[in-house]
């Protein structure tokens, strides 16, 4: 499915780096973390200037100075040797930070090299390296570090090396998986196709894309190194000549700070550790949010309330067949980040019993948004801004969530594009079909439900033995059939098919389309078929709604659309669409690209690309005009002529 991206802005180009900084500034957690780190680093660097006393000297200290509570002389009291806690704290920051950073540096370099080599070269080398990494990962860190340090000299250098040499496993895993991911991306294949060698590819393509995640992991490694160092010192394995925060706690705890009630000697050093690690954690978490963003919302977040408006009667009756679904003046907005994107504007249509309506449009035209709105499945940022959706006596646009849940599937159901994850991968297909039946027809005996599931599978041509299989065991075509079976499970009146065959091969598509057509006739369904394929629409649909930029371009019977199109977009689209019955027809294209939703033009949304546009098109949005036979066109040209 093609998706158009940003409009060309004739201004300063934004490199990934400046874009990143802009994003980072908005991330509160990351900024707070960074500030916390900068502060403590400054403290460490300027320790001599900031510390009121020199913790090295014992001049003038007597036994009366031990464990003195905070006072104006000693803001945080004194420790077990009578020394100023604050000064020890300030100088202690140096030790903790140095050990943390240098140990982490060793880990990151080792892990990074192993990860890239394993990920890029693959094969036996990768196998060996990763087996080794996994083995080291399983062996518990701290006990091993404790053992090694206990057996060797507890010097600062030693500690740095041991922590560093044992802390690379997470880095190796992260770097390897990211290298693998990047290696399989098309631009790396392209680089190889050009003739680039290993060194060039790693330097120019792999490294720049692995770096961001490596940085996030590095921050984690640093915080773990600092925690490890403080733990080691607390356990008595620290360098006795370098007083880190952990060492301070070791002394305090082991020399009666608790019984002396000297909380300052216990709280202050620990607070330092927490400050640094928390700063790193916040920074890392913030960075991860930016570099590996999760989607802004999930499907269970509450939606926005519909704005109630009066519906205007736009069109006359097209036929005497009863109308199942009557959509009037529907407008849908996306609200977020202080902006409002008017995704769908003033769309109306009627779906009659037994009718197959084709909804045609390209990327960004709003067709999926429109369908989601019908079933009130818009994402958290979506909102029905005006209009009504009349179905079975209710206005679906204003129903409450629990009322809508009753109508979903039983009244209107939907067939999604059969992506691998449209069905829950850890539940059997039969189970998921049965679930729909049990929800809307509760209390049916198990045997009856089972029989119904088998009946449905048979209807769509899936053998009964597949009922208890999982989605990943189905082929693409089979999954789509299963989705159809599930959609029909509660005998809906209306079925929405959202690009059901777009990802399928031509022959499978033909099978599925034939199936849908048969089912429609057999069960008397009304179907809204969403697609960008004009060929499919011509073969199957009774009527067609052509959308562009969120608006109705043209809405008419299939015959009128293909043989007497009145909207320039429809006309141009038909010229751009290949026709196998006339294989030598030279295809045309429409220059430009669809409008960005948050930068919509005032006038007709198609005007920038329209070959027949004139001044009025740019300033004024065209109204929907009705020609005879219920043929609706959203274009100024029609008005001029009639």
């Amino acid at each position: 499915m093609a998706v158009q991206t940003a409009e060309l802005k004739p201004s300063v180009p934004s490199s990934p780096l400046t874009g990143f900084w802009r994003e980072f500034r908005k991330n509160r957690m990351g900024v707070v973390g960074l500030v916390m780190l900068v502060l403590i680093v400054i403290v460490a660097i300027f320790a001599p200037a900031l510390a009121p006393y020199d913790p090295e000297t014992s001049e003038g200290i007597t036994s009366r100075d031990i464990y003195n509570p905070p006072s104006t002389d000693h803001w945080f009291g004194t420790d077990d040797a009578g020394k100023d806690v604050l000064s020890s704290f300030i100088y202690g920051s140096r030790v903790s930070l140095i050990v943390g950073f240098f140990a982490a540096f060793i880990s990151i370099v080792i892990g990074g090299v192993i990860g890239i080599v394993a990920g890029y070269y693959g094969g036996r080398l990768e196998n060996i390296l990763m087996r080794f990494t996994d083995t080291m990962l399983v062996i518990p860190d701290l006990p091993l570090i404790v053992v090694i340090v206990a057996l060797t000299k507890p010097s600062l250098l030693n500690i740095i090396f041991v922590i560093g040499l044992l802390g690379w496993t997470t880095t190796a895993r992260v770097v390897r998986s990211q290298t693998l991911a990047v290696k399989s991306r098309k631009f790396v294949l392209r680089a190889r196709a050009i003739g680039a060698g290993t060194r060039h590819i790693i330097l120019h393509h792999i490294l720049p894309l692995v770096l961001p995640l490596l940085v996030v992991n590095a921050i984690l490694v640093i915080s773990l190194a600092i925690l490890n160092e403080s733990t080691l010192s607390f356990l008595g394995l620290g360098d006795p000549t370098a007083t880190s925060w952990g060492q301070m706690l070791n002394f305090a705890f082991g020399r009666g700070a608790m019984s002396a009630g000297a909380w300052w000697a216990l709280v202050v050093p620990g607070f330092g550790i927490v400050w640094v690690v928390l700063g790193l954690t916040l920074l890392g978490h913030g960075l991860e949010q930016i570099l590996n963003p999760r989607l802004e919302s999930h499907h269970l977040m509450p939606g926005r309330p519909t704005v109630q408006t009066e519906a205007v009667d736009v069109t006359g009756k097209r036929s005497d067949v009863p109308v199942l679904l009557d959509v009037r003046n529907l407008s849908i907005h996306y609200v977020g980040d202080g902006q409002v994107a008017k995704a769908v504007h003033n769309v109306s249509f009627q779906l009659h019993e037994g009718e197959l309506l084709g909804l045609v449009g390209e990327s960004g035209c709003g067709k999926t948004t429109l369908m989601m709105a019908l079933m009130r499945l818009l994402p958290a940022a979506g909102q029905i801004a005006s209009g009504s959706i009349r179905f079975g006596g209710w206005d679906l646009a204003t129903l409450k969530e629990d009322e809508m849940a009753e109508i979903r599937w039983k009244g209107i159901s939907i067939i999604f594009q059969g992506a691998m994850n449209a069905l829950n991968p850890v539940r059997t297909v039969g189970d998921q079909i049965a679930e729909a039946i049990n929800k809307h027809m509760p209390g049916l005996p198990h045997g009856v439900v089972n029989a119904r599931v088998l009946e449905l599978l048979d209807l769509v041509g899936i053998a009964a033995e597949h009922k208890d299989h999982y989605p990943h065991q189905y082929s693409g075509g089979m999954r789509q059939r299963a989705m159809i079976a599930m959609a029909l499970s509660c005998d809906p009146q209306v079925v929405i098919a959202d690009e059901p065959t777009t990802a399928l091969d031509v022959m499978i598509q033909a099978q599925i389309l034939e199936l849908l057509d048969d089912l429609r006739k057999k069960l008397g369904l009304a179907i809204i078929f969403v697609t960008h394929d004009l060929g499919v629409v011509a073969e199957m649909c009774d009527s067609v709604l052509v959308m562009y930029g969120g608006m109705t371009a043209e809405y008419a019977s299939v015959d009128s659309i293909y043989n007497a199109p009145r909207h320039p977009y429809t006309q141009e689209l038909l010229k751009a669409f290949p026709d196998l019955s006339k294989p030598e027809k030279r295809l045309t294209s429409i220059p430009g690209y669809p409008p960005k939703l948050n930068a919509l033009p005032d006038g007709c949304r198609f005007a920038p690309r329209c070959p027949l546009a004139f001044e009025r098109c740019v300033t004024e949005m065209p109204r929907l005009h009705e020609l005879n036979g219920g043929h609706i066109v959203g274009c100024h040209l029609v008005e001029e002529k009639s």
Binding site: M1, A2, V3, Q4, T5, A6, L8, K9, P10, P13, S14, S15, P16, K186, F187, L189, R190, A191, R192, A193, I194, G195, A196, G197, H205, P208, L209, E362, S363, D505, V506, M507, A510, Q511, L513, E514, H532, D533, G535, V536, V537, A538, E539, V558, D559, Y562, E572, A576, F577, P578, D579, L580, S581, P583, E584, K585, R586, L587, S589, Y593
Partner: protein, 328 residues
Amino acid sequence: MSDEFILEVKNLKKYFLAGRPALFSRTEQYVHAVDDVDLQLRRGEVIALVGESGCGKSTLALTLMGLENATEGSIFFEGRDITHLTDRERKSTRQRIQMVFQDPYESLNPTQTIEEIVTEPLVVHGLAGDHGERQAHVVRALEDAGLKPAEEYMHRFPHQLSGGQRQRVVIASALVLEPHLLLADEPVSMLDVSIRAEIINLLADLRESRGISVIFITHDLGTVGYFADRVAVMYLGRIVEIGSMREVLTDPKHPYAQALLSVIPVPNPRLRRKRMILQGETPNPIELPVGCRFHPRCPVAMNICKESDPRLLPISETHRAACLLLAK
């Protein structure tokens, strides 16, 4: 090898091991991705390689490019055997054969500017001495690919361009080396319908102006109509029909090609055609059917089709199909 052919492929096979190599397995299974393909291409000729997913068309392209190693058979490019070259030996050939990929959103490194992307091939091959000369080549390539004025695009990043524009950048980076052969693997499948023709027309123009030969791979037969000189239909790793565009698209002889053409939807509601919808799915290329590989799904299969695997049989001077019906 004759001079009139820029590319000659003989009995090309590319098999992949199915699954990971097991420590204790009796027989190893292979995916027969490309299974005995013959192909000849003239200078300035455009051939469309058509088929559904799994037919081997993309693997064929990768093997021709040297991005996969051929299992068997030979590939001759401009008279030279390029089947089993090392990466170093292949480097000079890579200048002459370039590839355009399907996904314009993934084909470009998001951390590189357009200028860097189009300059990269020159840098890799050590061409065009100094910075100024290189830039001149880049500008020319961008403008030939339809991005005018080039200066407006040079400093941008891929995420700032539309899908069609990105695809043009990919083509520009292929053009900058002045290739003789272009392998276009589904270059427009991920673009909006209304802008596909742009890219196809661009490729057609490049064939006119630069005499580049093109192998155009697609599953969408409709887009090849006015652009391709010849069309080859692939099924399960083999070419099952090949001929001029008119011959194959208006008078296909292989049942698979006939079925395929009959089911592709046509944007004309008044045209009611007889559609040959094949049942089932394409069998997996690990366990190929015995005899003609299409016979399990063929609506007109005969008994002999279960035993005999047909080669491409002549229908006319230029038109051939691998079907035993023709042997009658």
